[in-house]
Amino acid sequence: MPERIYGIRHHGPGSARAVLRELDAHPPEVLLIEGPPEADDLVRWAADDGLEPPVALLGYAVDDPGKAAFWPFAVFSPEWQAIRWAVRRGVRVRFFDLPYGCRVAPPADTSTPPEVATGNAVRTADPIVPPPADPGVPQPADPVASRPVDPIAELAAAAGYDDPERWWEDVVEHRGMPVFEAIAEAMAAIREHAPEDPDDLAREAYMRSVLREERRRHRDIAVVCGAWHVPALTRKVAVKDDTALLKGRRRGKVAFTWVPWTYGRLASWSGYGAGVHSPGWYHHLFTTGDDVVTRWLVDAAGVLRAEGVPTSSAHVIEAVRLAEALATLRGRPLAGLAEVTEAAEAVMCDGEPLRSELIARRLVVGERLGSVPDDMPAVPLVRDLTAQQRALRLRPEAAGRALDLDLRQDTDLRRSRLLHRLTVLGVPWGQRAAARRGTGTFREEWRLAWQPEFAVRLVEGGMWGTTVVSAATARVTRQARDASTLAEVTALVEVCLLADLAEAYPPVLAALDTRAALDADVHHLMAAIPALARTLRYGDVRRTDVAGLATVTASLLGRVCAALPSAAGSLSDEAARQLRDGMDGVHQAVGLLADDSLRERWLGTIGSLAARPGLHGLPAGRLTRLLLDAGRLDGPEVRRRLRLPLTVGAPPAHAAAWVEGFLSGGGLLLVHDEALLSLVDDWLADIPADAFDAVLPLLRRTFGGFDPGERRAIGERIAGGRAAQAGPVVALDIDRAATPLATLGALLGRHLTTTESSDSAADDNSHPPAGEHGHPASGENNRPAAGANDRPAAGEHDHSATAENNRPAAGEHDRPATGANNRPAADVNG
């Protein structure tokens, strides 16, 4: 025979041993290995001791590093052992699979990408294509590949083995038969009846043509390839058939490099998995000569001891006995992974799932990390970053410099996203400088400083993805999955928005949903809602699963509504303040959501809560106020409730808190909200003279918290008499005011008329989404009062409507719809 073909099981330690044995017995002149031919040059690195498995060949399209695939090798991979064998002896190694360039090239005729088996195969030689964004999302099953993924595992399963390596040991090795001939025969039998994958056929055609070429040059050829391909390589096929199959394949430009790999990522449960469930066990099988079971269980005891679990030799003895008894019960000659795992669980783990998981993680999968020599060419993530730095004209410099970004500019927006994404990847090239203006939405200030160690972090970041955006996406997804508190996930939602990681959104939302469900603290839940509502309302994240976000927000609100009543009992002052702030935030958010049923639910909840006796004064007052603003309570009812806490039965502290809660939002509100002022005024006038002395300290306490200027303004309003207010309103130049209304109407999405602008404040509050700063009940109202003179420039971007807007009388203010209320402010100042 001109060549010897070794059909192996990819990542099979048994195969690796057998291949080594055969190679030693019959040294070939050239070694052909199933793998991408573009990586031929990289084989020499295998001689370098710096290249320590597990490592992977990383191939990627030069023009689009997002298209990439990994060919991982562990120390027990037959291919790796064969390469090492050949490199040590100076035998030429050639990869002879279909070039990867043919796979990344755009297909000539079909619209489906030519990428093969997305990563669930044990076939190393088949590239493992990194999942697009989230390693945790299961890959859709490849509809074409109906051929067995791991044919040897199928044989083993048919024989009743769950561990193919055990089957190899028991059936193949122990019988002393010529291993590879037997496997080749078995495969020939399987392939006769299995459906053929068209991709396989092309690959095998290419393999055969390489084989023919080598036959002309060498006499002694060894081939290491997946057992599945053996029958195809030995079959007689006419040259022209192979040429026909391979014709018309375009070849993209690809680059290859070695990257460090881990056993965790070889294992199937970590996303980039190669489908090897137990790399640690295989490593053990390959490196341990005899006493496999005993040594394994001794190691397991060691793992437990390292974690402080007392595990004696007696445990190991009993575990070995149990493993052997189990093997006997199951009719197996030797205990396999299933038996040792179950024995370790029953004897050493005391039924603690954490301990079995520990053994699974440390031992069965293993935490071994490979390494590559320092002088290895760069990874794609670095190249992608370099390309983006060039495109965005951001040179890495060691000396720090400030960068002021205007997010309305496209380039600046992309710069901002890049910096945010790098931060996600643990490369804090840019640090956010404290913004000069708290609420500025379109300016970002950064300090840039490139540190040398970022290079290392980028290489590490390479494990998350090949481009900055994909790596950041994968990282955020992972963080969302690992997050333990709701706050962490909420922060990630914002990160997704800032870094524009649209694909990370669904998993982050899912994580948010999970944490929200498990978080029993209603304050955490309430704290999460405003950010979500803002995102929903203003977030301009393209391709974002807004429907998902809306669902999550709605369910979050549902949970808050369910949990709020029980959380509101027996509060300390501090907790009451926290609850008040939380409810304020949620209330604003509900306004932003513009969903009537949610609003109804929320108002219903706080309505019943407000009526509850024994509620702490601060939230009780606040809720009454919210309900008043929402039009749920009318004036007389509010007056009645106002009076209640100030009666004899209520302790003074409660009354003070109540008034504080009711009036919170500052004194300015009283200056401008006529309805509220008259309500308070009427109530004050209502208090009987003899009770007034008792109430006075409480009022002092509340009003004392206001600015002297505010107090003076309130006093002036009361003293001036409310009738006087009618003057300026009547003097309004209706024609002038009408000019901007059309534009405002378009902005607000509803029709405006001049009469509407004289509505009451309560009406205004029932339309919170009216403007960017749609929280009329809170401190935002300060702004109009401050007047035209000293208002900070921050708000300027809000008035882009028309030139008319700059006129003080019509709408200098952010919320033109409330113009009627604002106008008197100008009066006071004037």
Binding site: H315, L322, L329, D513, S555
Partner: protein, 361 residues
Amino acid sequence: MNDGTTPTAEALRPHAEDQYAEELALLAAADDRPRPPGWRLSPQAVVTYLLGDGAKVTPKYVGPRRLIEVAVSTLATDRALLLLGVPGTAKTWVSEHLAAAISGDSTLLVQGTAGTAEEAIRYGWNYARLLAEGPTDAALVPSPIMRAMRAGSIARLEELTRMPSDVQDALITVLSEKALPVPELNTEVQARRGFNLIATANDRDRGVNELSSALRRRFNTVVLPMPAGADDEVEIVARRVAQLGKALELPEVPAAMEEIRRVVTVFRELRSGMTEDGRTTLKSPTATLSTAEAISVVTNGMALAAHFGDGTLHPGDVAAGIVGAVIKDPVSDGVVWREYLETVVRERPGWLDFYRAARDA
């Protein structure tokens, strides 16, 4: 193994070895594999007895095969077996059937309680005789464990962690030396081959009387899980409900699979903290919500339907039972249940009746 007190047919609940005597005989006849000393069946046949063979032998336990294999192998290596699990995971059920299959006797039982005394593990005295004759063999009252040692059969110990620690430790000699000294008579009882011990413990209240590490070391632990799939659980519930209905002679109620499935779904979802479609995460109540409880909720509902209803099982009949099973702690579980009702049950098509009934219950 009646002592002639109650004929088997009259027993409210016959012992496993009596109820399934035919199956055991069938297995014994066909069993040609080596049997460990003192065993009535080979380990393989014991596994078959527990899991069923799809034909004559009915499954006693529906669950992972490997657990039963580990349990049987443990007993075959003469290590004691500790079955752990939350209430209602068939620990006692499995231990009874293991004992019945291995020794043909599941009655050598010690129930662990806070009041279990050392005599229950070792031996007691017939005081009348002790006073009259002094310490003699005849005055000795052997415990079930001592009898099992003499007979070479399996002894069962229920709720091991509920026994006081000092009583638990009386087991150490039995398990390590396989002998029980009787200093008063200056003799000892040595266990015959075939003797072994199956203990069960509830891992929810493991902290009650934690096993000493010396004792724990002598047990192999097998954790019995909650049923893995909804279909499995529906099958378990339906089968047990049918058996119980027959045994308690409840009036015939058409076993409404729909309601059984609903009860199982509610229990599974609350237990796992996730809806079956995997879309919504839920809080779990403090209650265990075991399969056994699902069985009792359905049985209860059937009794309600038969005696007070129109003879068919309606959502309302099971709703009250479910609420009672879920809400053990009125404060925290109440919130969990309301949240579940409002976010999951209410939205689910076809569940409106149940939602109303549960809300009113």
